[in-house]
């Protein structure tokens, strides 16, 4: 199997970082919703 070139590996790493950042962003949004929901429950 042909190994990917250096710039291809760089693109791959940026891609992974973007996917991890996207998933983490979704978790942060989830945390915000939890914070809101906890406030609703406390009323």
């Amino acid at each position: 199997m042909k190994l990917p070139a250096r710039n291809e590996i760089q693109d791959n790493i940026y891609g992974i970082l973007l996917e991890v950042a996207g998933a983490s962003g979704l978790l942060l949004l989830g945390l915000l919703i939890c914070f809101w929901a906890a406030g609703v429950g406390a009323k």
Binding site: D11, G15, I16, E19, L31, C34, A37, A42
Partner: protein, 498 residues
């Protein structure tokens, strides 16, 4: 002549897949040798021997494939491959003695291969490392697709390879050549497995696990999370670790695992804007946010979880685990029925049925079909409101802009309809065997969507008819009906000719 050519082709491809399965057992075998589990070593040697004999006989009968595979035969081969893998992949489980019957073993293999994650194993805490390794290999393999694996290692350059690739529910190519596509899928999966093993291994060490245990659990859980599988080495699933860090890392991996391989490839090759333009990613983001908000509102209002952190670690985790069709649990099974409340239950039913992305490791009827169904309704309404002679043109983005047309929306609506039918039948069969309707509907949504969350219905004590129904539901849900229908049609047509 045509009939015998078809049979020879079937025997040829099945023989190769069986031999591949036999070779795969080397990994758990080596694991067992490493941990000095000699009984398990013999279980795998026996299984490999049986698979080796069956595969060799089939290949001796049909050493070469004949001509180009037809679409129909491609689908039949895929449907048969999954059934054969289920029957033969269960041998090490059966020999190990940790399952009560062969049916239970086949249930667990199908649950693994379809990345469902429900299990009927006895005394899970004490199963050998080798057997655990086989469980997680099955679920990881199922995530990528068995046929994808076969395309990488055994079927390079074979005529009609794309036709069996499509049969496994992966209808898009990342690259023009199907073998290159399969390799790209494997490249992405292996990279994420390595990153997952490392990050969960380190997390395991930080929460006090020993190095070997931390590494093995890290590898297994990362395989399971990436595959949206849901198997865990402990009965308590992710709850066992009692760690926010462990939960957060697994969530990141199962969210990423539920994305379309085409989207991964686009992002990995520099087309990074695709992440917010892609219909499927946008739909998944929208539906998960709406369903999570509804469920958390209800859970908080009912006082099930009162603090932000409890809502995040129990409610949010479970909802995302359901929507990505992973099935990792941080709650106890009975809580769904006794505590969650009707609105949260409806939200989790829908999350389990919606599922992740097409051409991903996830199950359910997939975000792209929800997006397309929504676009179809919107298109029809616009057409009705427009002047009579006007032609309304709508587009959606999946790698490129595509016109909303019946040839895309109709199959999407058909599959959604079929999933609902399967869910209803599975619910009825469960309910008819002594379970309450909420329990039955929950478990049925879990098997139909290949999720793996449980309301406590799935156990070795289930009546065989329910176990068989669940195996069928997992199988149909994973192959998205088509391959099975073609197989059933093929068998019926042969029977009618006799």
């Amino acid at each position: 002549m045509k009939y015998s050519a078809n049979l020879l082709n079937m025997a040829h491809y099945l023989g190769k897949i069986i031999l591949l399965f036999s070779a795969l057992m080397l990994i758990p075998l080596i694991t067992s040798v490493f941990f000095l589990e000699w009984n398990t070593v013999f279980d795998f040697l026996n299984s490999m021997g049986i698979l080796g004999i069956v595969g060799t006989i089939l290949l001796l009968y049909s050493p070469q494939s004949i001509g180009q595979l037809s679409w129909k035969l491609g689908m039949v081969i895929v449907a048969l491959s999954w059934l054969t893998a289920m029957m033969l992949g269960a041998l090490p489980y059966y020999f190990s003695g940790f399952w009560l019957s062969y049916l239970d073993c086949t249930f667990d293999v199908m649950s693994g291969l379809t990345t469902t994650g429900l299990s009927l194993v006895q005394d899970m805490e004490h199963i050998p490392y080798g057997i655990n390794m086989w469980r997680f290999i099955l679920t990881w393999l199922g995530g990528q697709g068995m046929i994808v694996l076969a395309l990488v290692f055994l079927m390079r350059g074979l005529p009609g390879a794309f036709r069996i690739y499509v049969g496994e529910g992966k209808d898009e190519r990342l690259l023009p050549n199907v073998t290159h596509t399969a390799k790209a899928i494997w490249y992405i999966s292996v990279v994420y497995m390595l990153i997952g093993t490392l990050s969960l291994g380190i997390t395991g060490l930080l929460i006090g696990q020993g190095p070997v245990r931390a590494f093995m659990h890290g590898m297994w859980i990362s395989m399971s999370a990436w595959s949206t599988g849901g198997f865990a080495p402990q009965v308590q699933s992710i709850n066992y670790y009692h760690s926010l860090a462990y939960e957060t890392v697994t969530m990141i991996f199962f969210i990423i695992g539920s994305l379309n391989f085409n989207l991964h490839w686009a992002i990995w090759t520099g087309n990074r804007k695709e992440i917010y333009k892609n219909l499927e990613a946008v739909t998944f983001f929208t539906t998960s946010t709406i369903l999570v908000t509804v469920a958390l509102w209800e859970l908080s209002k009912q006082g099930v979880y009162s603090s932000t952190l409890a809502l995040f670690r129990r409610g949010y985790y479970t909802m995302l685990s359901a929507h990505t069709t992973t099935g990792f649990m941080t709650t106890y099974a009975q809580q769904f029925i006794t505590e969650w409340g009707p609105l949260a239950m409806v939200a989790i039913f829908l999350a389990m049925l919606f599922g992740g992305s097409a051409s991903s490791t996830a199950g359910g009827f997939k975000a792209v079909r929800i997006g397309l169904a929504f676009k179809a309704v919107l298109h029809d309404v616009k057409q009705l409101l427009a002047p009579e002679r006007a032609i309304v043109v709508d587009r959606f983005h999946m790698g490129k802009d595509i016109k909303v047309e019946d040839r895309f929306t109709r199959p999407a609506l058909t599959i959604i309809f079929l999933y609902f039918i399967l869910w209803s039948i599975t619910s009825l069969v469960t309910s008819a065997n002594g379970f309450s309707l909420p329990e039955a509907m929950f478990e049925a949504a879990s098997v139909t969507g290949n999720v793996g969350l449980s309301a406590g219905v799935t156990s070795a004590a289930l009546p065989p008819v329910v176990k068989i129904m669940y195996i069928l539901a997992m199988y149909l849900g994973r192959l998205e009906f088509l391959s099975f229908f073609v197989l059933a049609g093929y068998i019926l047509s042969k029977l009618r000719r006799r």
